[in-house]
């Protein structure tokens, strides 16, 4: 069974083509672009909000994109249980849209960081991570200016209590502490999921580590997990 992906294109998205390429040419699944002015989306199993600088991120990352017509459709899609993954800017848009809790601050060193990092899988019983082992260390790069995830104390406790933390920044051996936190994110959080388990946001770019030629294939298994989950569904 083929799983159909939709990659949303906002003006300023710049990882849309990379996600499209991985899904079509590496994963060999059907995929279509969804223009941000679309008001209806149908026939898709999974929607990808790609990375980039939607609307230049001139006000706040993701702040303007969340008002794009397509976002109402994405919300409806998610409410019906459809799978949504937001990568980097896509994660920031999900936060602004309120589909995931929290907000993004500038990286603690105030610089854009493009770098290979290690992530630990904190939760593998999700639609997006079912092919990983728990505590598996993944090599997936980051590239962002605002990846410093923030949440007030109570909300953080709630997030942890609900087991919504999916990825944390870690050392190559899976150790988690401030030393291995590239951007200052609270509790080393790199990716989270909503309570219902169908909306994932992550700062690292799995589409950039989905082929051997790029130094790591770890990211591909997120897309493969989505396929596996949907086929079973």
């Amino acid at each position: 069974m083929m799983i159909k992906f939709g990659v949303v294109v906002f003006p300023g998205s710049n990882c849309d083509q990379d996600c499209f390429y991985v899904i079509k040419d590496v994963l060999n699944q059907p995929v279509e672009y969804i223009w941000h002015k679309e008001t209806k989306i149908s026939g898709f199993d999974c929607i990808v909000l790609p990375g980039g600088f939607s609307y230049g991120d001139y006000l706040r990352t993701g702040a303007v994109a969340r008002f794009s017509p397509v976002m109402n459709a994405v919300k409806e899609f998610a409410e019906k249980g459809g799978l949504v993954i937001g990568i980097c800017n896509g994660f920031q848009i999900l936060l602004e849209a309120g589909l995931l809790p929290g907000a993004m601050l500038r990286n603690k060193n105030l610089r854009f960081i493009c770098e290979n990092v290690c992530l630990r899988v904190e939760k593998n019983n999700t639609s997006f991570t079912n092919l990983y082992a728990k505590k598996q260390v993944l090599k997936i790069p980051i590239a962002h200016n605002e990846g410093n995830y923030y949440l007030d104390k109570n909300s953080l406790e709630e997030l942890k209590r609900n087991q919504q933390v999916v990825f944390r920044y870690c050392s190559a051996s899976g150790e988690i502490n401030e030393k291995y936190n590239p951007n200052g994110a609270i509790d080393n959080i790199a990716g989270i999921i909503n309570k219902q388990g169908n909306v994932l946001g992550m700062m690292p770019h799995p589409e950039r580590s989905a082929e051997k030629a790029l130094g790591s294939e770890d990211g591909l298994f997120i897309f493969k997990s989505i396929v596996k989950f949907t086929q079973k569904r």
Binding site: Q17, D18, F112, C114, C118, L214
Partner: protein
């Protein structure tokens, strides 16, 4: 009657003005005068360099494409388009916006050919960081590049940064971009077909960079300007990468329809340059109405609209009847696309403002400014500066200290803290990341993401920029030759066959004969070495007047170069991979210290004859390296450049990139115990003899490598073995270098 003071202040000389009178057979209007002044400025017209640029070779192994604004080479059914351009003066005044708009401009030159930009490189030069303004410039420029390039989604995959005191007061910001297109989908920058429409596309016009072209870019900075940058600031343009990103997508979509006859960036010289050059290139005329030009500011005069350098704008010639379809594509991306005129048969650029003709100039005459040859004379400093008695240079007692100092010197130290701020992975093509001799990109199909031909296309390209300007100062001819040879060597080290050059020629005031001599000598060097290797120069840029009252910059002919990898799976990079590999040095070591980083950093001398360049030897070393890499016989390859053999070896040990900030993947040390012993130790370790490449290979591969070297007549020497956690170098059974890798790495990596 136009007074000489007026046209002088616009940068036009008396003889230029006489020519204008002859062309028009009357006095120019103010608008016409402004148009001549921008189009005939050195910045737009190359009038002072054109005569010599013609000598640069245009042919090589790969078919060359030379367009109006950028050039490239043909690779199968793809065109690889590339160009490098300077944005020096704007960056000196406002580093962030100067560098950002430099990136924007070069990117537009690439995508207006129909090619999708796939990479950026930056070659940057500043004065010493001990001066806080230079530090401000460095950080501002890096910030501008990351601000613009990251937003566009075009990876910045490498470049170079050098520091020399001559760049204080005149930093260099040279940006290169590479794009790919289907060969049959390329667009030209010309207007043809009488009655076709002229479409203004992109951002609105304001008073940005009014006079920036002739006043800002073609005047050397005088004292007054340096102390009052505040006043200059308004003529710097502000970059808008978001609009540019939308322009890229919309333009490529529009060109793909086949209804675009020609398209051109409105960069330096704005509408003037775009109308006159598109008309001249197409053998046509263009008539425009200024009232239709979208504007951001009120009350702009017609001459201001004609020479404004507002960013993120383009001019397109569209087939009659297809305007609406093209406008719809731009409208989808929320971009202006307004018909402002049409193509005419009379070969005139005619500008109307509310129906009244304000300028009427023959396009050819405007677009083909007078070409000068200027007086040149060998500079006086050269004879003095070449005197260097090696015997008088005291031998350091502790070579470990020297090596650590060199590794931490700004010219050699790791630039990871810079390229970490650039998104160098977006588009997922970067298969050799920044930090090796050259970056390698695999080639996916232009456009929306499928592999070429449906299968896995294994070809790739490698890119590098190079210039040791200190060499060019000490010996302009050979320095330029070395810049090309080293760029080639860098490409060869990652497994790419050198294929084409774009040059960015940064020089001081050409009206001074000794500076012009430097320019001519460098061109001669590039020409000769390119002819020898049959490497074409496909595009380029000249930036003159890079000087301030204290100093002229070193002659800096930056070479941007593209090479072809037959198979990206055979790519190579510079760091050691395994314990127990044999370390092989191709080439020979000579006693050459002139112009070296060692002399400058350790002995505070910028002196001496620079290293020799034996072209036959260079060719043979490169041929052997390429063959052994392509046959998969070696595990690493690294060129010896600044800091010589010792620095190259240290980099082989410590430059491996890691996945975690702390738990770095294992670094591999080495022991070197078979070096030629007849040389002075400092020359052996830190001399910068050309045509040398350090390889590492499994023992079992060594015989094959030897026989390839023998066949190509390449000098080869096995100098040691990889392994351990130290860098050890012995000569005459004496350890001259013995350092733990951590210590080397700490000196080399800086934040």
């Amino acid at each position: 009657m136009i007074k000489p003071e007026i046209y002088h202040s616009l940068g036009l000389r008396d003889e230029d003005y006489q020519k204008i009178l002859k062309i028009l057979k009357r006095e120019p209007t103010i608008t016409e005068l402004a148009m001549f002044s921008v189009e005939w400025s050195e910045h737009c017209s190359y009038s002072r360099s054109k005569k010599y640029l013609r000598f640069l070779p245009r042919e090589g192994k790969y078919k060359v494409l030379v367009g109006e604004d950028a050039g490239g080479i043909v690779l199968d059914d793809l065109a690889v388009i590339f160009k490098m351009e300077s944005h020096n003066h704007p960056s000196q005044i406002e580093p962030k916006q100067g560098a950002a708009t430099g990136v924007g401009g070069i990117i537009r030159d690439i995508f207006t050919t129909g090619a999708r930009p796939i990479a950026l490189m930056d070659s940057l030069r500043f004065g010493p960081l001990t001066d806080s303004y230079n530090k401000f410039l460095l950080h501002g420029v890096v910030d501008g590049i990351q601000f613009y390039g990251n937003c566009l989604g075009v990876p910045t995959v490498g470049g170079e940064i050098y520091f020399e005191s001559c760049y204080s007061g005149n930093c260099l910001v040279n940006v290169m971009s590479i794009g790919i297109a289907k060969r049959n989908k390329l667009a030209r920058a010309r207007a043809t077909g009488v009655g076709n429409s002229i479409l203004y596309v992109g951002a609105s016009t304001g008073r940005d960079g009014i006079g920036g072209c002739s006043v800002l870019a073609s005047q050397e900075f005088c004292n007054e300007v340096i102390t009052s940058n505040e006043e200059k600031r308004p003529s710097v343009q502000i970059g808008d990468p978001f609009t540019e990103k939308c322009l890229i997508e919309a333009t490529l979509e529009a060109i793909n329809t086949g209804d675009i006859v020609g398209i051109k960036d409105m960069g330096a010289g704005g509408l003037t340059c775009a109308t006159s050059e598109m008309a001249a290139a197409g053998g046509s005329g263009i008539e425009i109405e200024l009232q239709n030009v979208p504007r951001r500011e009120k009350g702009m005069e017609s001459w201001e609209v004609m020479i404004s350098e507002s960013q993120e704008r383009m001019l397109a010639c569209v087939k009659k009847g297809k305007e609406k379809e093209i406008q719809n594509i731009f409208a989808k991306w929320d971009l202006n696309a307004v018909v402002i005129g049409k193509v005419t048969a009379d070969r005139m650029v005619r500008v109307k403002d509310r129906g009244k003709v304000v300028a009427q100039i023959p396009a050819d005459a405007l677009a083909n400014p007078p070409v000068y040859d200027l007086a040149s004379k060998k500079p006086d400093y050269l004879d003095e500066i070449k005197k260097l008695d090696l015997d008088k240079i005291s031998l350091p007692k502790n070579f470990n200290q020297v090596l650590l100092k060199l590794l931490s010197s700004p010219n050699i130290a790791s630039k990871e803290w810079v390229y970490r701020q650039y998104d160098h992975m977006v588009q997922t093509n970067t298969v050799v990341l920044p930090g090796s001799d050259a970056a390698v990109l695999r080639l996916k199909e232009n456009g929306r993401g499928t592999h070429l031909g449906g299968g896995t296309h294994l070809k790739g390209i490698a890119v590098t920029t190079d210039c040791n300007s200190r060499y060019c100062y000490l010996n302009p001819y050979r320095g330029a030759e070395i810049a090309v040879a080293e760029a080639m060597r860098n490409l060869v080290c990652v497994g790419a066959e050198p294929a084409g050059i774009t040059d960015c020629l940064n020089f001081a005031n050409p009206d001074k004969p000794d500076r012009y001599w430097q320019f001519k000598e460098c061109i001669r060097g590039i020409t000769d070495v390119c002819q020898f290797f049959q490497i074409p120069v496909v595009s380029g840029n000249v930036s003159f007047y890079n000087e301030n009252p204290q100093d002229a910059i070193y002659p800096t002919p930056t070479i941007g170069m593209v090479g072809i990898l037959p198979d990206i799976n055979q790519r190579c990079n510079q760091y050691f991979k395994n314990e127990g590999d044999e370390i092989i040095l191709l080439g020979i070591c000579k006693e050459e210290l002139g112009g070296s980083e060692y002399l400058k950093e350790i002995h505070s001398l910028v002196k001496g004859e620079i290293p020799e360049l034996d072209l036959e030897l260079e060719k043979s070393v490169q041929k052997t390296t390429l063959e052994v890499i392509n046959q998969g016989l070696v595990n690493s390859a690294h060129d010896c450049s600044e800091g010589g053999l010792a620095v190259a070896l240290a980099e082989c040990c410590i430059s491996r990139r890691s996945w975690s900030t702390d738990n770095r993947e294992k670094k591999i040390g080495c022991k070197i115990d078979n070096l030629p012993s007849a040389l002075k130790t400092d020359a052996l370790l830190f001399g910068e003899t050309q045509s040398r490449i350090v390889l590492s290979a499994k023992k079992s591969a060594v015989n094959k490598i030897k026989s390839i070297a023998q066949k190509n007549n390449t000098p080869l020497r096995i100098i040691g073995k990889t392994g351990g956690e130290r860098l050890i170098i012995e000569t005459d059974k004496r350890k001259v270098i013995d350092l733990p890798l951590d210590k080397l790495e700490n000196s080399w990596r800086q934040d």
